[in-house]
C-alpha cells in the first residue's frame, strides 16, 4: 500500500461532468433559438400560438443566461474541483466518508435547484435582476448548495497531505468567497407575504414573491457590483484555476513563473471588484464611481494578462504541441481569447467608447468571445483531460476533437465579428443627427439594419452548438464504447502518446 500511488475517487466529479454536458446543451440550444428569434421573429411562435408565452424571446432569455452560467459553467467548475482538489491536495475523497457525503449532497441539492430554476423561469417567476433572477426560496437553496461547496473545499484542505496550497486552490477558494459575498448582498429581499394590513390580513398574494431591499440607483449599483463580479468569480477566477492545473498537466511543462502567478492572483482579487461601475457609465450613479469603474477596468488588463501570459509562456519551447494535440489547441486558444476579451472589456469601459457601445450588441459580442472562446473552450478541455482518467479509457476520437475545435473556432469568430459590426452600427446610428440637428434615424431603422448581422450571429452560435454536440458525443463514446484500461493513466496524456 505504501508504495502505490494514491487512487482518487471521482464519483462526484463524474456526476458534475454529466450535468456540465447536459446543461451546456440546454443552455446553448436556447441561446441559438434566441439568436434566430432576433433574426427571424417568426421563430418566437415556433411551437404555435398557444405556447408562444413560453417560447418567446423575453421569457427564454434569462433561461439561456442562467443555464450557461449556473448550469454549464458552475457544473464545470465543480466537476474540475472534485477532480483537481483531491489531486493537488494529495488526498482522496474516499478517505473521508463525511466529505463524500457532502459531495453527493451538494450534487443532489444542486439538481433540485436546477429543476426549480427551470420551472420558475418558464413561468415568469423572476426578480428581473440579471443573473440573480431567482426568487427568495431558490436563493436560500442556492446558499445551502454554496455552503456545501465551501465545506468540501475547506474539508479537503483540512485533511490534505500536501501542505502548500497549489495556485488552482487559491482560485477555487476565491471563487467560493467571492460569489458567497456577492450573492448574499445582491439578493437581499423581503418576502411580501410577511406584510400585514390594518384588516389583520397576512400572507397576501404569491408566497414566493419578494421585493428588493434596495431601490433604484442603489439597487443598480449593488446589482452591477454583483453582475460584473459574478463574471469575475464565475467566468474568470475558477477558469484560471482550471488552466493552472490542466495546461501544465497536459503539456508536461512547469508553470512559467510563480511570481507572475502571485502578482496576477492578488492583483485580480484587488482590482476586479472596483470595476463594476463600468456597467453604469452615464447613469444616475455619482460621477466619481463611474470614473473609478472606468479606471480600474483599464488597470484590470495587468492581472488578466499576467495570468494569460503566464499560460502562454508555459508553452515556451513546446509550441509543436499546439499542432499535435487538439487538447492543447483548446487551452492555448482559450488563453488567447482570454487576453482578447480582457483587452476588449477595458476598451468598452472607457467613457467615450462606452457612450457608443452601451446598450448595443457589441456588449453581447464581448460577453460571448469571453464565454465561448475562454470559458467554454477551457471547460471542454478540462473534461477532455479528465475523461480518460476518470473513465479509464482513451478519448474516443482525436480527429473528431480536431474538427470540433475548428468548427467552434469559426463559430466564435462569426459571433463576435457580427456583433461588433452590429453594435457599432447601432451605436453610431442612435447618435447621428442630420444637418439641421434632428435625429437622422428613427429607432426602427437601427433595428432593421441589424438583420444580416443577427443572421450571421445565429449561424455562429449554431456552429458552436454543433461543436458542443460533437464534444458530448466524443465523451459519451469514451465512457461507453472502448475497453477499460487496467489502471488509471499515470503520466503522458493520451493525446501526447
Amino acid at each position: 500500500m505504501e508504495n502505490r500511488p494514491l487512487e482518487y475517487d471521482y464519483t462526484v466529479a463524474k456526476m458534475f461532468m454529466f450535468t456540465t454536458i447536459a446543461l451546456g446543451i440546454v443552455g446553448m440550444l436556447i441561446g441559438v433559438i434566441l439568436a434566430f428569434e432576433l433574426a427571424f421573429p417568426g421563430v418566437n411562435t415556433i411551437l404555435g400560438q398557444g405556447l408562444a408565452e413560453f417560447t418567446n424571446y423575453s421569457r427564454l432569455r434569462p433561461l439561456h443566461t442562467d443555464a450557461v452560467i449556473f448550469g454549464f459553467t458552475l457544473s464545470g467548475i465543480w466537476a474540475t474541483w472534485y477532480y483537481v482538489g483531491q489531486r493537488v491536495l494529495k488526498v482522496s475523497m474516499a478517505e473521508s466518508g463525511f466529505l463524500m457525503f457532502i459531495g453527493k449532497l451538494h450534487f443532489v441539492l444542486y439538481m433540485v435547484v436546477v429543476v426549480a430554476v427551470v420551472v420558475s423561469l418558464f413561468l415568469g417567476i423572476t426578480t428581473s435582476k440579471e443573473y440573480a433572477e431567482f426568487e427568495w426560496p431558490i436563493d436560500i437553496a442556492v446558499v445551502v448548495v454554496w455552503v456545501l461547496f465551501g465545506v468540501s473545499i475547506f474539508g479537503l484542505i483540512g485533511i490534505r497531505r500536501e501542505k502548500s496550497l497549489y495556485i488552482s486552490i487559491w482560485y477555487y477558494i476565491a471563487t467560493f468567497l467571492g460569489i458567497a459575498m456577492l450573492y448574499l448582498f445582491n439578493n437581499m429581499e423581503i418576502p411580501t407575504m410577511l406584510a400585514t394590513n390594518a384588516a389583520g390580513e397576512s400572507g397576501i398574494g404569491n408566497w414566493w414573491h419578494s421585493v428588493s431591499m434596495y431601490a433604484g440607483t442603489n439597487d443598480a449599483l449593488v446589482e452591477w457590483w454583483y453582475g460584473h463580479n459574478a463574471v469575475a468569480f464565475g467566468f474568470t477566477v475558477p477558469i484560471v484555476a482550471m488552466i493552472y492545473y490542466f495546461l501544465p498537466k497536459e503539456s508536461g511543462q512547469a508553470i512559467y513563473s510563480y511570481k507572475l502567478s502571485l502578482l496576477s492572483f492578488w492583483g485580480l482579487m484587488f482590482v476586479y471588484l472596483w470595476a463594476g461601475g463600468h456597467h453604469l457609465l452615464y447613469s444616475t450613479v455619482p460621477d466619481w464611481m463611474q470614473t473609478m469603474g472606468s479606471i480600474f477596468s483599464v488597470i484590470l488588463i495587468l492581472p488578466s494578462w499576467g495570468s494569460a501570459i503566464n499560460m502562454l509562456l508555459t508553452m515556451k519551447g513546446e509550441w509543436q504541441q499546439v499542432a499535435a494535440s487538439p487538447l492543447i489547441k483548446f487551452m492555448v486558444l482559450g488563453s488567447t481569447f482570454y487576453m482578447f476579451s480582457t483587452l476588449e472589456g477595458p476598451i468598452q469601459a472607457i467613457k467615450s467608447v462606452n457612450a457608443i457601445a452601451h446598450f448595443t450588441d457589441w456588449i453581447v459580442g464581448h460577453v460571448h468571445d469571453g464565454t465561448l472562446g475562454w470559458v467554454g473552450f477551457m471547460i471542454m478541455a478540462a473534461l477532455y483531460h479528465m475523461a480518460p482518467r476518470v473513465f479509464k479509457r482513451e478519448i474516443y476520437s482525436k480527429s473528431l476533437m480536431v474538427s470540433q475545435f475548428w468548427i467552434q473556432t469559426l463559430g466564435v469568430v462569426l459571433y463576435f465579428t457580427s456583433m461588433w459590426i452590429a453594435g457599432i452600427t447601432q451605436g453610431m446610428m442612435w447618435r447621428a443627427h442630420d444637418e439641421f440637428g434632428n435625429l437622422a434615424y428613427s429607432f426602427i431603422d437601427t433595428v432593421t439594419v441589424l438583420h444580416p448581422y443577427y443572421a450571421i450571429r445565429g449561424v455562429g452560435g449554431l456552429l458552436y452548438l454543433v461543436g458542443f454536440l460533437m464534444f458530448a458525443y466524443n465523451i459519451y463514446k469514451t465512457m461507453s464504447a472502448r475497453p477499460v484500461e487496467e489502471s488509471e493513466l499515470q503520466n503522458a496524456s493520451p493525446m501526447g502518446a
Binding site: A174, H209, G216, T217, D219, L221, W274, V364
Partner: protein, 230 residues
Amino acid sequence: MFHWLEKHPFFFAVGIFVTIAFAGLVEILPNFAQASRPVIGTAPYSTLELAGRHVYIKNSCNACHSQLVRPFKSETDRYGHYSLSGEYAYDRPFLWGSKRTGPDLMRVGNYRTTDWHENHMKSPSGVVPGSIMPAYTWMFKNTADINTAYAEQLTVSQFFSTPYNKPVPMKDGSTKIVKMGASTAEANALALAEAKVIAADMKDQDVKDAVANGQIPEIVALIAYMNSLK
C-alpha cells in the same frame, strides 16, 4: 509572506476576503442614503401600476428595453429629459436594463397612448413595420395578480416607509395622494376602478367584458404601468 499564507488556508482565505470586500465598502456605501431620496414629482406606484410592473418583469421586458436616458443630446431628443437618481426612488427592483434591442421606455407614458399599446402588444410589426418584437397575445387572456401587487405595497410602506396614503409633492406645487387599500378587498376595488379607465380606451371586447365582470387582464395592468412612466 505569500509562502507562509499558502501553508495557512484560514489566513489565506481571510486575506482574499478582505482584499475583495474592500472595493464594495468604498464604492457602494458612501452614497447609499443620498441616492434613494425621491425628487419632487415622483410618486409611488398605484396597485394596478405595480401589478403592471410585475407583468413587465414576468415577461422580462427589461431584456430588450432600457429605462435609463443618458445625458446625451441624441437621447434627450429621442426619449425626453435625462434620468435623475431620485426618479427611481420607488423602483424595487430597478429596471434600467442592459440592452436596447427596442427603444428606451423611461418616459414612454409621455408619447404613447393606451390605444397605441393595445395595438402594438397584439401585433408589433403591424404598428411598427420591420419590428422584431414578438406579440404578447397572452397578456389579453391572463389575469393580473392584484393581491401580490397589494402585498408588495404593504411591504414597502411598512419596511421602507414608502408614502402611500400620504401627500407627495408634485412639480406644479400641488400634492398627490396614492391610495393603498386597507384590506385586500379594498385594494382590488381600487385597482378595478383604475382598470375601468384604461379599458374604456381599449377596443378588445374580451378585455372590456373581463373588466366589466371585475377581472383585470394583464394587458390592462401593463398599460397602466406604461402610462405611468413619465
